[in-house]
Structure formats: structure tokens, C-alpha cells
């Protein structure tokens, strides 16, 4: 049984299962959000934890003061995902019958920011402060000895909310994963109100009216961000090697991985020649792949699958959205390529410190 879970935790398998689970939850949301089914899943998770915590390694990993909030967060994320989909399913049924969504019936008038919104925000702030105080009193801060540049803890992990970023840094250069991609995340989130001017779903839960928007959100947040936190917290051990949840953290786990570059695959394996010496010609296939992915894919999609979307949004909005979306999707593509083929970089210009 434990071996089975360890085998599932192999990064590619874990990521595949996680992604499929999220998409299945969205596809068959009517089934999964039914309270009986959701409660069964919840109790299943609790039973799993109760069973698994008897394993000393699992217990040590789960009950680290750093990791307890992550467990809380996982259950909270699950609960709120369920809540939003549950209400969306209810509303979709009402809309199908030609009725107004629940929220419109509950409170048909617009409410004021002050006092209605600010008051409840103030209450939430008070409750949040109280929770933080109790938390700080109950759980000791995981403080360590003063920092020493010669002694890096093994494994070195960022605070939990930065683990997604740290995981990105495993696959990309620092200038890309530490500067460009986080900048794009922030700018992309800021661009949402300007890119997405569709008023449907404002003020009420729905899925059928906004399938693409909600699916992208679930993919970007749950699949990419939350799963990265799980992966980095619970499945990465010493030397950043992957360990199953019930596998002891062996410092000397042998992972025979030798990186390969896309230019090697292209010139040596596919064409059977040696790589050209100049960096431009050597990396041309990789550059073409990246440029093609970001430039040609949006055009192809605009002509085929996304015709309706382009007509609705107009070209500038569509392009902004699609390029952001493609960069987001590039993340898991690169991760899976690293896990399965040990592909290090698609474009590898060591001479200019430029690797993608």
C-alpha cells in the first residue's frame, strides 16, 4: 500500500493525476459537488491522513511547524473550490430553467461599499488577527541557528508561499523564473479586468457561462501553484531529489539524471550530425520552437478553435490573453520534459547567459 503511494508520487505521475483530477472535477462537477460525494472525499482524505500519520517519516514531514499551515491550506482550498463549484452548479440549473441566479434573488438591490462591504472586511480582519495570534502562541516558529553562507541546509526550501517560485527555478534560469515569469504573473493578474470585459458571472457563481475563464483559473491556481507547493513541500527531500510520502529521506538517493539540451536532440539524435559551433546556428531550432510557440500558436488557434473568442474579444485582447495563457501552459510542458527526457534547456546559449 505504501509502495503504491510512493509510486504515485513520482513527479510526472503525481502531476498527471493531479491535473486529471482537477479537470475531471470540473467536467463532472454535478457529480463531484453533490454534498454526499464531497463529504465522502473529505472523509477519505481524513482517513488517509489518520492512517498515514502512523508512518514516522510521513508524520515528521506533516507535523513540521512549517508544514502544518500547508495542510490547513490544502483542506481550505479543497473546501472553497467545492463551495464555488457547488453554488455554480446550483445557479447553472436555475439559469437553464430560466430563473435568476440565487444571489440575484437573495439580494436584488445593489449594496453600498460602506458600510456593507467595509464592515464585513473589518470583521474578517479582526478574526484573522485573532487566528494568527492563537496560531503564533500554539506553534513555535521554526527558527534555526544564524545563517552561515558556508552551510546551506539540505534541502533548502523557501517559505511555503514561495515554493511555487522555487519549483519554477528548478526548470528555468534565474532571470526567467525569478524575474520575468513572476512579473508576468503579477502583470497578467492586473490585466484581467481589461482583457476580460465579459460581464457574465459578475456577482454570482456560474460555470456554464464562463467555462474557459474558470477552467484557466483552476489550471493556473490549483494545478500550477497549489500542486507545486505540495510537490516542493512533501515530495522533495535532500538534494532536491523526489521522495515518495512514505520513503525515508536518504541523503544518498541515486538519481541517474544527465541533462540533455534540445540542440543535442535536434542535431545529434534527429539529424545525426555534430552540433554547429556558432551559437546562433546551433540554437536556431530551439529559438524557432520558442518563437513559433508564442507567435504562431495564437494565430492558428484564432483561425480554428478560438474563432468565437476572437470575435468577442477583438485582436489586442485576444493576443494579450493568449500569450499569457501560452506562457502559463509552457511551465508544465517544460517540467514534464525535464522529468521524462532530462531536457535541460530548449534554447541554451551559454555564451550570452541566455537559456530558456
Amino acid at each position: 500500500m505504501k509502495e503504491f503511494f510512493n509510486a504515485l508520487a513520482d513527479p510526472s505521475r503525481f502531476f498527471l493525476i493531479f491535473t486529471v483530477a482537477v479537470f475531471a472535477m470540473l467536467k463532472w462537477r454535478e457529480f463531484f459537488t453533490a454534498p454526499k460525494v464531497a463529504l465522502t472525499i473529505f472523509f477519505g482524505a481524513v482517513v488517509f491522513f489518520v492512517w498515514a500519520i502512523r508512518d514516522p517519516g510521513f508524520k515528521a514531514n506533516i507535523t513540521k511547524p512549517d508544514n502544518i499551515p500547508i495542510i490547513f491550506m490544502l483542506f481550505l482550498v479543497g473546501f472553497f473550490s467545492w463551495l464555488s463549484l457547488y453554488r455554480a452548479v446550483k445557479n447553472d440549473r436555475r439559469i437553464d430553467r430560466g430563473e435568476l441566479p440565487e444571489e440575484a434573488v437573495e439580494n436584488p438591490k445593489k449594496v453600498l461599499t460602506w458600510p456593507d462591504l467595509v464592515y464585513s472586511e473589518f470583521l474578517c480582519m479582526l478574526i484573522g488577527t485573532a487566528v494568527l495570534l492563537i496560531w503564533a502562541l500554539l506553534l513555535k516558529a521554526p527558527l534555526e541557528e544564524p545563517a552561515n553562507p558556508n552551510k546551506t541546509p539540505n534541502p533548502s526550501k523557501a517559505p511555503w508561499y514561495f515554493l511555487g517560485l522555487q519549483e519554477m527555478l528548478v526548470y528555468f534560469d534565474p532571470w526567467l523564473a525569478g524575474v520575468i515569469l513572476p512579473g508576468l504573473i503579477v502583470n497578467g493578474l492586473m490585466a484581467i479586468p481589461y482583457v476580460d470585459t465579459n460581464p457574465k458571472g459578475n456577482g454570482y457563481y456560474t460555470f456554464k457561462e464562463r467555462p474557459f475563464a474558470i477552467t484557466s483559473f483552476f489550471f493556473g491556481f490549483i494545478v500550477l501553484w497549489v500542486s507545486m507547493i505540495i510537490l516542493m513541500t512533501f515530495l522533495r527531500g535532500p538534494n532536491q531529489a523526489f521522495f515518495g510520502p512514505f520513503e525515508p529521506w536518504n541523503l544518498h538517493k541515486v538519481e541517474p539524471t544527465v541533462n540533455i539540451q534540445f540542440s543535442q536532440i535536434f542535431w545529434e539524435q534527429w539529424l545525426g550530425t555534430s552540433r554547429p559551433t556558432g551559437w546562433f546556428l546551433r540554437e536556431l531550432p530551439g529559438i524557432a520552437l520558442v518563437v513559433g510557440y508564442l507567435a504562431i500558436t495564437p494565430m492558428l488557434l484564432a483561425k480554428t478553435v478560438c474563432k468565437k473568442m476572437v470575435a468577442q474579444m477583438g485582436n489586442p485582447r485576444y493576443l494579450t490573453m493568449m500569450i499569457m495563457f501560452l506562457i502559463m501552459v509552457a511551465m508544465p510542458i517544460k517540467m514534464v520534459l525535464r522529468w521524462t527526457f532530462n531536457l535541460q534547456f530548449i534554447v541554451n546559449i551559454q555564451e550570452l547567459f541566455l537559456n530558456i
Binding site: T152, Q166, F172, H252, T257
Partner: protein, 182 residues
Amino acid sequence: MAAAAAKPAAPRPKVQLVWEPKELHRRDWMLVASWSLFALSSLVGTLFYVLRYLFPNVTYEPPLQFKAGLPTEFAPGRVDERFKASFGTWVVRNELGLYALSTVCTHLGCTPNWLEGEQKFKCPCHGSGFRKTGINFEGPAPRPLERYRIGLADDGQVMIDKSAKFQGEKGEWANPESFLYV
């Protein structure tokens, strides 16, 4: 009611043009004292830190050049970690001679660990791996560990100079100063 209406309006107070020192009441004294104390302490505090600023907290780094002992002290095929903590350098000996590797990971600058069993340097931050030669082969590190200038001092000791770096990906390891034949 009639009497009240007939009462003449109160005379307007005269405008006082000259400041007369008032008697200092107990409450006013407290106020003046606390403001003065506040002003004084701000002034002293600011002055103190302005002066303190002139003497910055300097941690003097170890010198860039150091002697690492006689070449015979280094066992063949071993990675010498004696100078990792003090000078950030690994000294490695292969069949031909000695070279000095920087302990800074070329991905984001953590300090990798030497794993004797696996014969590799492994970075605990993002999992970059380097061979004993310093060449990167796994994880995200884009280029090999840097080598420092290495030579023999007049007294026959190994002299390592961290001010000169040799980068393998630029072909600089062919430079005779990056490798000591002993």
C-alpha cells in the same frame, strides 16, 4: 424676560498686542516638559545615528590570495574541503595536478555539498549537480563551477588567487593558470 432683554451686551475683549508671560500652570508645565523632552531625544537620537553612520559595520572578507599548503598534502582523486568554510574554495587533485573550484553554484549562488559516495557536487537549493571537474550535468545550473587561479608560491606552497576566475564554458580552463601540474 423684559429685564433680560434690556441687559447690555458684554463688552468685547480688547485685542492683546503685547505678549505677556503667563503664569505656568502645572498642566502646561507637563506639556512643555514632555514636548521638550521629545524634541531633545529626537535631536540626540538623530545626531547619534548620523555619527554612527560614519562608521559602517564592515566584515572584513578573507584575503583573495591564500596559501593552501604543500602540494603533497592533497591526496590524489580527493576533493579537499578544508578551505570551503574559510575561503570558499575546493581544491581537487586528479592524476595530473591540482585545480581550485569556487563553492558558488552557478544557478543562484547557494553553496553545494560534495557527496563522496556519488562523486558529485550537489546543490541543496534547486538540485544542480556538478561532476568532480566542476562540469554541470544535472538540475538547472547553466554552466560549470568556476575555477580560480592556482600556482606555486616561492616557498613551494600551493597559492590560490580568487581574483582571477576561469569559466569552463568559455574555454578558459585551457589557460595554464587554471591548473597546476604537480
